[in-house]
Symmetry: C2
Subunit: 367 residues, 2 copies
Amino acid sequence: MKKLNLLELPYTELTAFVGEITRRSISEFLKLHVRLYTADLREATEAYLLRSGKCLRPSLLLLSALASGAKRPEQLLPAMAAVECYHVATLIHDDIIDHDELRRGKPTVHALIASQAAKRHPRLVSDKARDYGVATAIVAGDILFGYSASLLSMLTRHFPIGVVESILSYQSCILHPGLLLGEQLDMELEMMELSKVTDKSVEKMMRLKTGLLLGFAARIGVALGERKPLEDSSLATALGMAAEDAGVAFQIEDDILGLFGEAAQLGKPIGSDLREGKPTLLMVNAWSKATSAERKRLKYILGNQRLTESDIEDARAIVERTGALATCRRRANFMIRQAKLACKAVPDELARQALFSWIDSLVKRSH
Amino acid sequence: MKKLNLLELPYTELTAFVGEITRRSISEFLKLHVRLYTADLREATEAYLLRSGKCLRPSLLLLSALASGAKRPEQLLPAMAAVECYHVATLIHDDIIDHDELRRGKPTVHALIASQAAKRHPRLVSDKARDYGVATAIVAGDILFGYSASLLSMLTRHFPIGVVESILSYQSCILHPGLLLGEQLDMELEMMELSKVTDKSVEKMMRLKTGLLLGFAARIGVALGERKPLEDSSLATALGMAAEDAGVAFQIEDDILGLFGEAAQLGKPIGSDLREGKPTLLMVNAWSKATSAERKRLKYILGNQRLTESDIEDARAIVERTGALATCRRRANFMIRQAKLACKAVPDELARQALFSWIDSLVKRSH
């Protein structure tokens, strides 16, 4: 693979290619390890990695590297595999925490292992099977977090050890505690009363939980492209922050889609966030500008498991009437503009355009 | 602190000192990070670290380093803190998996956070509080796994980067997936019928789940003492394997104690393993040599939640009659002898004696 060839590909072909080579390199890596595992642990570890995901993070890493002078994209593969493994580790633990049953159209890891154990051991009571599914998913997530570090260590074959060390250190000192704090904030915000949640705290949570890992992918890409430690590269910081902004914009759009979109496009029923009582930026904004009658209505709607279509209609109307919808759209657009502005620091025209496409594909998801 | 001074201390004073400096250096490290956390996440992360544990792993690391020429023990502190953080991360996740409610005499992390959340949010139903406790404990364990890597990275201040890299790489490629496979095997063995469990598979599980991390502590110590990458040191391998053997011996003794010891010494009720249906080496051995009447009795006893004192008496009698008790004691003693034999490679008399004391204190626990 040559640099120009890759960036000259139409964007969708480029990302399909990235998905393919990332998955292939992950499964080669896993092959060495999982043969020692039990069947359940192997399945738990491989499940999400082998389902076709969008590989947004490996794509961003590759594009950021190409934008900063990477000549041998194949040398980036361990890093691309690492960010995807890391992402999948967070998904496995997040799915346990959120009690989600579906991921990428199939059962989540804990649900999958529980249902198989129940079939295999007919005497196993269903509580035990569920616990075993959760326990195996905890273990599988832990393992994949670790694989991400193993994969990054492999970069020392082709890159200066100081560069790799700066990447590992960013991962363990900034990305990892930050992303997990985001996970925790997400849980804690959900337990708070809407009137006490500020839009600042919601944005902080989104930046940590979603933005930080996207930013990490961009930062690694630049560090490897420039063959410089992360902290010495201004482009790494610029693209890193751009990716974080894009991540926040994506989350805002996702919340909007959750109320105004189509179930098929969203991948879950419209209004799920309302039923779960999730204090999205949309809701926090609407609350702050709502009349007391509207607040009463919102209180009834949020966290109510038995919402009707007309309740959801009412929530939509309040969100529009208060201007919360417009405010959130503006905020997302501002973040996107900011992200694109940062990409202007990239001198290469093709690479810059590809980064723009990445941002657009993140925010305007069409699947 | 000077090398000779440390090794000249009586062993119990030495380990008390290690406990103190390890905990102090962990809390200094945490101070930098946890101030950004929510109160619950801070508490979940700090809980076990601040309870006085035995710090067996930091002690072994220090002794192994002193045994291989370390001149500045204070430079080892990040590594000592790292192995303790790692150990605590595994405990937090293990306690969720095992549904344990007590650890070091106080509530386990998930139980602690659940009970506090229930108090703080009286409207929270108890299921939700429990889920929140588990979720927070998952996050806290994840964070501590990562801190272990951050702490190890700090070693580059005083040690060659190649040495540190070999340690990080052992952690992510061997220790981490291996220990977690041990955790998984433990769960899966518990679901199997006793007649299908082999003593080989139980020993493998113990070596992975308990031995590997002890071995890692010894290996790191030697690598830092000799300032050589792990893979280039025969002493690192020798002491690493010795520590693994000692870990298996400890587990066997622990299983014996679980049936023949005193509740106070064990820290949990006698017979817990029987109630949980845990296929210990003792049980697997007894089964293989039991008469069919004894097997019938064992089948009734194992996994039975309502065991009487006389059931436990019967289990003890079968374990003694079949020779399983003697076989397991022999096996543990063989492992201990093997571990001590390996320590003979240490030239320094004081260091060698201290390692012997470490092995004895691990196996003959008196708390």
